[in-house]
Symmetry: C2
Subunit: 119 residues, 2 copies
Protein backbone atom coordinates (compact mmCIF):
# COMPACT_ATOMS: atom_id res chain seq x y z
CA UNK A 1 0.00 0.00 0.00
CA UNK A 2 1.64 3.16 -1.18
CA UNK A 3 0.95 6.77 -0.43
CA UNK A 4 0.51 8.54 -3.76
CA UNK A 5 0.76 12.23 -4.54
CA UNK A 6 -1.28 12.78 -7.73
CA UNK A 7 0.09 16.28 -8.34
CA UNK A 8 3.67 14.99 -8.23
CA UNK A 9 2.71 12.08 -10.47
CA UNK A 10 1.18 14.49 -12.99
CA UNK A 11 4.41 16.46 -13.11
CA UNK A 12 6.21 13.31 -14.23
CA UNK A 13 4.03 12.96 -17.31
CA UNK A 14 5.97 14.06 -20.36
CA UNK A 15 3.32 14.54 -23.03
CA UNK A 16 -0.08 16.15 -23.22
CA UNK A 17 -3.35 14.22 -23.52
CA UNK A 18 -1.71 10.95 -22.49
CA UNK A 19 -3.27 9.78 -19.20
CA UNK A 20 -1.21 7.61 -16.87
CA UNK A 21 -2.71 5.19 -14.37
CA UNK A 22 -1.76 5.90 -10.75
CA UNK A 23 -4.17 3.57 -8.91
CA UNK A 24 -6.86 0.96 -9.45
CA UNK A 25 -9.82 0.02 -7.27
CA UNK A 26 -13.19 -1.65 -7.70
CA UNK A 27 -12.75 -1.99 -11.44
CA UNK A 28 -12.03 1.73 -11.72
CA UNK A 29 -8.83 3.56 -12.52
CA UNK A 30 -7.36 6.76 -11.16
CA UNK A 31 -5.31 8.54 -13.79
CA UNK A 32 -3.37 11.77 -14.10
CA UNK A 33 -2.88 13.74 -17.27
CA UNK A 34 -1.32 16.94 -18.47
CA UNK A 35 -3.49 18.88 -20.88
CA UNK A 36 -2.82 21.76 -23.21
CA UNK A 37 -4.88 22.97 -26.10
CA UNK A 38 -8.19 21.70 -27.36
CA UNK A 39 -9.16 18.05 -27.23
CA UNK A 40 -11.62 16.32 -29.53
CA UNK A 41 -15.38 16.28 -29.06
CA UNK A 42 -16.33 12.83 -27.79
CA UNK A 43 -18.53 10.89 -25.40
CA UNK A 44 -18.24 7.59 -23.56
CA UNK A 45 -21.18 5.28 -24.20
CA UNK A 46 -20.90 3.35 -20.94
CA UNK A 47 -18.64 5.29 -18.64
CA UNK A 48 -19.17 8.27 -16.38
CA UNK A 49 -15.97 10.29 -16.10
CA UNK A 50 -14.73 12.38 -13.20
CA UNK A 51 -12.33 15.28 -13.81
CA UNK A 52 -10.58 16.78 -10.77
CA UNK A 53 -8.27 19.69 -11.51
CA UNK A 54 -4.91 19.53 -9.74
CA UNK A 55 -3.42 22.62 -11.35
CA UNK A 56 -4.54 25.27 -13.79
CA UNK A 57 -7.88 26.20 -15.29
CA UNK A 58 -9.82 23.62 -17.29
CA UNK A 59 -12.75 24.34 -19.53
CA UNK A 60 -15.04 21.53 -20.55
CA UNK A 61 -17.29 22.39 -23.44
CA UNK A 62 -20.65 20.68 -23.54
CA UNK A 63 -23.19 21.09 -26.31
CA UNK A 64 -25.34 23.18 -23.96
CA UNK A 65 -22.83 25.11 -21.86
CA UNK A 66 -19.15 25.45 -20.98
CA UNK A 67 -17.93 24.40 -17.56
CA UNK A 68 -14.98 26.22 -15.98
CA UNK A 69 -12.96 24.37 -13.35
CA UNK A 70 -10.16 25.75 -11.23
CA UNK A 71 -7.65 23.78 -9.17
CA UNK A 72 -9.44 21.83 -6.45
CA UNK A 73 -12.68 21.59 -8.41
CA UNK A 74 -14.24 18.54 -10.04
CA UNK A 75 -17.11 17.52 -12.26
CA UNK A 76 -18.68 14.24 -13.34
CA UNK A 77 -19.49 13.96 -17.04
CA UNK A 78 -22.20 11.29 -17.32
CA UNK A 79 -22.00 8.59 -19.97
CA UNK A 80 -23.34 9.62 -23.34
CA UNK A 81 -22.74 13.33 -22.85
CA UNK A 82 -20.58 14.90 -25.53
CA UNK A 83 -17.76 16.96 -24.11
CA UNK A 84 -14.53 18.62 -25.15
CA UNK A 85 -11.82 19.55 -22.64
CA UNK A 86 -9.93 22.76 -23.38
CA UNK A 87 -6.79 23.90 -21.60
CA UNK A 88 -5.80 27.36 -22.75
CA UNK A 89 -2.77 27.08 -20.52
CA UNK A 90 -1.32 23.88 -19.14
CA UNK A 91 -3.61 21.92 -16.83
CA UNK A 92 -2.91 18.94 -14.61
CA UNK A 93 -5.90 16.78 -13.96
CA UNK A 94 -6.88 13.66 -12.07
CA UNK A 95 -9.36 11.35 -13.81
CA UNK A 96 -11.52 8.71 -12.25
CA UNK A 97 -13.33 6.29 -14.54
CA UNK A 98 -13.84 2.58 -15.22
CA UNK A 99 -10.78 0.58 -16.18
CA UNK A 100 -10.35 0.52 -19.92
CA UNK A 101 -12.15 3.78 -20.64
CA UNK A 102 -10.80 5.12 -23.92
CA UNK A 103 -9.65 8.73 -23.74
CA UNK A 104 -11.39 9.73 -26.96
CA UNK A 105 -14.54 7.72 -26.25
CA UNK A 106 -16.30 6.68 -29.44
CA UNK A 107 -13.86 8.69 -31.56
CA UNK A 108 -10.68 7.11 -32.86
CA UNK A 109 -8.03 9.47 -34.17
CA UNK A 110 -4.44 10.51 -33.61
CA UNK A 111 -5.26 11.52 -30.03
CA UNK A 112 -6.52 8.05 -29.11
CA UNK A 113 -4.30 6.25 -26.60
CA UNK A 114 -4.82 2.53 -26.99
CA UNK A 115 -2.73 1.45 -24.05
CA UNK A 116 -2.13 3.47 -20.92
CA UNK A 117 1.01 3.12 -18.83
CA UNK A 118 1.10 3.21 -15.08
CA UNK A 119 3.24 5.82 -13.40
CA UNK B 1 -23.66 18.92 -14.46
CA UNK B 2 -22.27 20.87 -11.57
CA UNK B 3 -18.76 21.97 -10.77
CA UNK B 4 -18.02 20.74 -7.25
CA UNK B 5 -15.35 21.94 -4.84
CA UNK B 6 -14.72 19.04 -2.44
CA UNK B 7 -12.74 21.14 0.05
CA UNK B 8 -15.61 23.63 0.33
CA UNK B 9 -18.08 20.77 0.64
CA UNK B 10 -16.03 19.25 3.46
CA UNK B 11 -16.12 22.54 5.34
CA UNK B 12 -19.91 22.37 5.33
CA UNK B 13 -19.92 19.05 7.20
CA UNK B 14 -20.84 19.64 10.83
CA UNK B 15 -19.82 16.45 12.60
CA UNK B 16 -16.79 14.19 12.53
CA UNK B 17 -16.78 10.68 11.03
CA UNK B 18 -19.99 11.32 9.12
CA UNK B 19 -19.25 11.10 5.38
CA UNK B 20 -21.44 13.04 2.97
CA UNK B 21 -21.95 12.10 -0.66
CA UNK B 22 -20.88 14.75 -3.14
CA UNK B 23 -21.04 12.79 -6.41
CA UNK B 24 -21.90 9.41 -7.88
CA UNK B 25 -20.57 7.66 -10.95
CA UNK B 26 -20.31 4.13 -12.28
CA UNK B 27 -21.82 2.66 -9.13
CA UNK B 28 -19.24 4.45 -7.00
CA UNK B 29 -19.63 7.37 -4.63
CA UNK B 30 -17.42 10.34 -3.93
CA UNK B 31 -17.74 11.47 -0.33
CA UNK B 32 -16.19 14.07 1.91
CA UNK B 33 -15.70 13.74 5.65
CA UNK B 34 -14.22 15.64 8.56
CA UNK B 35 -12.19 13.47 10.88
CA UNK B 36 -10.80 14.02 14.35
CA UNK B 37 -9.56 11.45 16.81
CA UNK B 38 -9.23 7.72 16.39
CA UNK B 39 -11.67 5.68 14.37
CA UNK B 40 -12.45 1.99 14.89
CA UNK B 41 -10.42 -0.85 13.43
CA UNK B 42 -12.38 -2.31 10.53
CA UNK B 43 -12.19 -3.70 7.03
CA UNK B 44 -14.50 -3.85 4.03
CA UNK B 45 -15.05 -7.37 2.72
CA UNK B 46 -15.87 -6.37 -0.85
CA UNK B 47 -14.83 -2.77 -1.30
CA UNK B 48 -11.51 -1.09 -2.01
CA UNK B 49 -11.45 2.37 -0.47
CA UNK B 50 -9.60 5.46 -1.63
CA UNK B 51 -8.64 8.19 0.85
CA UNK B 52 -7.51 11.54 -0.57
CA UNK B 53 -6.51 14.14 2.01
CA UNK B 54 -7.88 17.61 1.34
CA UNK B 55 -6.59 19.23 4.54
CA UNK B 56 -4.52 18.16 7.51
CA UNK B 57 -2.45 15.10 8.29
CA UNK B 58 -4.09 11.68 8.28
CA UNK B 59 -2.62 8.54 9.72
CA UNK B 60 -4.00 5.19 8.68
CA UNK B 61 -2.93 2.35 10.93
CA UNK B 62 -2.62 -1.05 9.30
CA UNK B 63 -1.72 -4.21 11.18
CA UNK B 64 1.71 -4.14 9.57
CA UNK B 65 2.55 -0.44 9.33
CA UNK B 66 1.19 3.07 9.72
CA UNK B 67 0.63 5.25 6.67
CA UNK B 68 1.02 9.03 6.96
CA UNK B 69 -0.80 11.19 4.43
CA UNK B 70 -0.55 14.94 4.02
CA UNK B 71 -2.88 17.19 2.07
CA UNK B 72 -2.80 16.27 -1.61
CA UNK B 73 -1.85 12.65 -0.95
CA UNK B 74 -3.98 9.53 -1.38
CA UNK B 75 -3.93 5.81 -0.74
CA UNK B 76 -6.09 2.86 -1.74
CA UNK B 77 -6.90 0.41 1.05
CA UNK B 78 -7.77 -2.88 -0.66
CA UNK B 79 -10.78 -4.91 0.40
CA UNK B 80 -10.17 -7.17 3.38
CA UNK B 81 -7.33 -5.10 4.82
CA UNK B 82 -7.90 -3.98 8.40
CA UNK B 83 -7.29 -0.30 8.90
CA UNK B 84 -7.87 2.46 11.40
CA UNK B 85 -7.83 6.14 10.42
CA UNK B 86 -6.41 8.50 13.03
CA UNK B 87 -6.61 12.29 12.89
CA UNK B 88 -4.61 13.81 15.72
CA UNK B 89 -5.79 17.19 14.51
CA UNK B 90 -8.76 17.84 12.27
CA UNK B 91 -8.55 16.32 8.81
CA UNK B 92 -10.73 16.81 5.75
CA UNK B 93 -10.77 13.89 3.39
CA UNK B 94 -12.29 12.82 0.11
CA UNK B 95 -13.37 9.18 -0.13
CA UNK B 96 -13.98 7.17 -3.24
CA UNK B 97 -15.63 3.78 -2.89
CA UNK B 98 -18.57 1.69 -4.14
CA UNK B 99 -22.04 3.02 -3.42
CA UNK B 100 -23.33 1.64 -0.16
CA UNK B 101 -19.93 1.05 1.46
CA UNK B 102 -20.44 1.14 5.23
CA UNK B 103 -18.05 3.47 7.02
CA UNK B 104 -17.22 0.95 9.74
CA UNK B 105 -17.04 -2.02 7.37
CA UNK B 106 -17.84 -5.28 9.13
CA UNK B 107 -18.05 -3.53 12.50
CA UNK B 108 -21.32 -2.10 13.75
CA UNK B 109 -21.12 0.32 16.64
CA UNK B 110 -21.98 3.88 17.60
CA UNK B 111 -19.76 5.20 14.81
CA UNK B 112 -21.68 3.32 12.10
CA UNK B 113 -23.60 5.61 9.75
CA UNK B 114 -26.47 3.67 8.26
CA UNK B 115 -27.60 6.32 5.84
CA UNK B 116 -25.44 8.96 4.26
CA UNK B 117 -26.75 12.31 3.18
CA UNK B 118 -25.71 14.15 0.08
CA UNK B 119 -24.26 17.60 0.43
Amino acid sequence: MKVINPALKAQQVKDYWNPKIIAQLNGQEVKVARLKGEFVWHSHANEDELFYVLKGELKIELRTETLALSAGEMVVIPRGIEHRPIAENEVEVLLFEPAGTRNTGEVENELTRHQLDSI
